[in-house]
């Protein structure tokens, strides 16, 4: 078997991935693949991206030893990779800067994107403002209502927000709508996909741009501990912060990889978003992957307290890692997530995003079972300021 790091091969991670899109898009996707292959080899592109990542987005983000939390649990040492400290408050900026620079080199002036909670929309608006591009963001009308602040943030940043009224009016429908826009305006428009999902080459190029997370933490961890961590933990919706964390370690089998999905009200309640844990193979949003669907192949609606994980599919590389058992996928319920959100806030003075709190919840359980000289790195994919209201509501606190 080939090294895991060498995938995708012909656009596929094993059998997962591929390009299941309307014929109209095939030329544009081919053009994108070629343009990306070119910039990948181009030192001037990489230099420009590094400039923006460090000078503008504030990279490298710290790798912080969460000593208080570690002591409280009394197991493995827990480190946090602080993506919440990146500009915009989440790892999303790594991808949007990379793709916006790519779009600019391709001569595209109009950028479209989808967003669920608004984090990717905001990160797209930020990157486009910085690079002088026009951003238009599709967002489900239901999500717009739940995330009013992010809608206003995007507008402040100069983006146009289009409400999506179709289907369940959430993330998956805003992706559908972005695809429809793209087939209509293919010559002028670049579709800036927000996670490691969609047709090839998106899962690959988003992974590459997010791998800055894993590459940095590898170096930082070596400097602090002179070894590799025993386990990496990250939350999985589409799965971009997790793949960005895992990818540089995929060919180091001594490092355990754990992805944590949203179990919502519990897997058995059917109100969750655990595509890997409870879904089956399907073809959705251009890729063959695990997806939540009914027996007829209709895509199901999902539930999670964190809008960022509220997606019925998952990146094809995760499906591949699951099938190979290279990564293990678990899940955390809304309740466990809120408890972890509170614990990290109290113990460390860090308010994590609800998405990332899923990873924290699992890491706390895992640490308890591990030895004190063992180590875990949790990717804290975003900050939780945006979630304070939701958490208060969940706890029945009036603010």
């Amino acid at each position: 078997m080939k090294k895991l790091g060498s995938y995708p091969i012909d656009g596929k991670f094993g059998k997962y991935g591929g390009r299941f899109v309307p014929e109209v898009l095939m030329a544009a996707i081919g053009e994108l693949e070629e343009a990306y292959a070119q910039v990948k080899q181009d030192p001037s592109f990489n230099k420009e991206l590094e400039y923006y990542l460090s000078e503008y987005a504030g990279r490298p983000t710290p790798l912080y030893y969460a000593e208080n939390l570690t002591k409280k649990i009394g197991g493995a040492k827990i480190y946090l990779k602080r993506e919440d400290l990146a500009h915009g408050g989440a790892h999303k900026i790594n991808n949007t800067l990379g793709q916006a620079l790519l779009a600019k080199r391709m001569g595209k002036k109009r950028i479209i994107a989808e967003t669920g909670a608004g984090q990717h929309g905001v990160a797209t608006a930020i990157a486009c403002a910085a690079l002088g591009l026009k951003a238009e963001v599709y967002m489900g009308s239901e999500d717009m209502r739940r995330q009013r602040l992010n809608v206003f943030r995007m507008k402040l940043l100069g983006a146009e927000v289009h409400p999506v009224e179709s289907g369940s009016k959430t993330l998956k429908d805003s992706i559908n709508e972005a695809f429809r826009d793209w087939v209509t305006n293919i010559e002028s428009t670049y579709y800036l996909v927000g996670s490691v999902v969609g047709p090839h080459p998106y899962p690959m190029l988003v992974r590459d741009f997010q791998s800055v997370i894993g590459n940095e933490l590898k170096e930082q961890f070596l400097r602090k501990e002179t070894r590799f961590p025993n386990a990496l933990v990250a939350c999985v919706g589409g799965g971009s912060n997790a793949i960005g964390t895992f990818y540089p370690f995929e060919d180091h089998p001594e490092v355990q990889l754990y992805g944590v999905e949203a179990a919502g009200e519990g897997i058995e309640s059917n109100k969750h978003a655990a595509a890997l844990g409870a879904g089956s193979e399907g073809v959705f949003h251009g890729m063959l992957t695990y997806v939540l669907q009914d027996t007829e192949g209709q895509i199901q609606t999902t539930h999670s307290i964190s809008a960022g994980l509220d997606y019925p599919g998952v990146g094809p590389e995760h499906s591949f890692l699951k099938t190979l058992r290279r990564a293990k996928y678990s899940s955390a319920t809304d309740e466990e997530t809120v408890a972890a959100f509170c614990a990290l806030s109290e113990e460390e003075g860090i308010i994590p995003a609800l998405e990332s709190s899923h990873a924290v919840a699992f890491a706390m359980k895992l640490a308890r079972k591990m030895k004190r000289d063992e180590t875990i790195v949790v990717t804290l994919s975003g900050r939780g300021d945006k979630d304070v209201e939701v958490v208060a509501d969940f706890l029945g606190v009036k603010i």
Binding site: G18, R19, F20, V21, P22, E23, V24, L25, M26, A27, A28, S166, G167, K172, D173, N176, F179, R180, V183, T184, N185, I186, E187, E281, G282, V283, F284, H285, G286, L288, V291, Q293, T295, E296, G297, Q298, I299
Partner: protein
């Protein structure tokens, strides 16, 4: 020769084009589809295209999206739509093509899907999100069951890709008239005529060429046939009638038949 090939050949001999009429199976309720199909055929549709409703139809505009929602809410399943095709085939010699997104086919298993389709007499299948590169197992299964695989070509399709698509397509080549999603449009674009003229040298003598997306009026149909296409595909215009007259079936069937008749007239050589 397949029924579909025969239809195109017969029309060509008369100098006419084919009218392919699309409706979403199960819209607004499963029991409507046989009567809707009947009305379209009575109006003169040469080939009937029935859609399997899908939860996430990314190639469709608002009209067919809404039809999919109505059909799904009424409990329509892929098996039911194949059964509806079977009902039509029992009574008419009109070829029936199934349009479906790939996931319902994948979920059922491509072999099982085609065996079932064949058992109901389905003549061909169109999958708008399955490009030829991903279609190997699908084509094999279709071939072994004797069902045509209709592939799509678009304005962005290069001549090189077109050659490959023409090799894979059977029954007809489905030409997407313009950049965009399905939905009725006001006017036929000049670029659609140019597109037909670019594609014709690759299809003529090999496979019929039919044009869809945005075709809703008799004058569009006439223009497309005059440009040299072998057929036109009309969907959203029929679906709009279904939506508008949901509560008055008699009126719905009348209007469907009338539109089909007008469109059919426009595809004839004397039109």
């Amino acid at each position: 020769m397949s029924d579909m090939a025969e239809v195109f050949q017969k029309l060509k001999a008369q100098g006419d084009g084919a009218l392919i009429g699309y409706v979403t199976g199960g819209d607004p309720k499963p029991e409507f589809t046989p009567r809707i199909s009947e009305a379209l055929i009575k109006g003169g549709v040469d080939i009937l295209e029935l859609g399997i409703p899908f939860s996430d139809p990314i190639a469709d505009g608002p009209t067919i999206q809404a039809a999919s929602v109505r059909a799904l809410q009424a409990g329509t399943t892929p098996q039911m739509v194949l059964g509806m095709a079977g009902e039509v085939k029992k009574k008419h010699r009109v070829p029936v093509v199934i349009l479906t997104y790939f996931n319902p086919v994948f979920r059922m298993g491509v072999e099982r899907f085609f065996r079932l389709a064949k058992s109901f007499g389905v003549d061909g299948v169109v999958v708008p999100d399955l490009p030829v590169e991903e279609a190997e197992a699908y084509r094999e299964a279709a071939k072994s069951c004797g069902v045509d695989t209709v592939f799509l070509a678009a304005p962005s399709t290069s001549n090189e890709r077109l050659r490959k698509i023409v090799e894979c397509t059977s029954g007809f080549l489905y030409v997407v008239s313009h950049f965009g999603v399905t939905g009725a449009r006001e006017a036929l674009e000049g670029s659609t005529v140019q597109l037909i003229q670019r594609f014709l040298p690759y299809t003529s003598g090999r496979v019929p060429l039919a044009v869809g997306f945005g075709v809703s009026k008799p004058e569009h149909a006439k223009g497309i046939i005059e440009a040299g296409a072998d057929g036109v595909i009309v969907g959203s215009a029929f679906v709009n009638i279904v939506r508008e007259h949901q509560s008055d079936v008699g009126r719905m069937l009348e209007e469907l038949e009338a539109l089909a008749r007008k469109l059919k007239e426009a595809t004839k050589s004397h039109a």
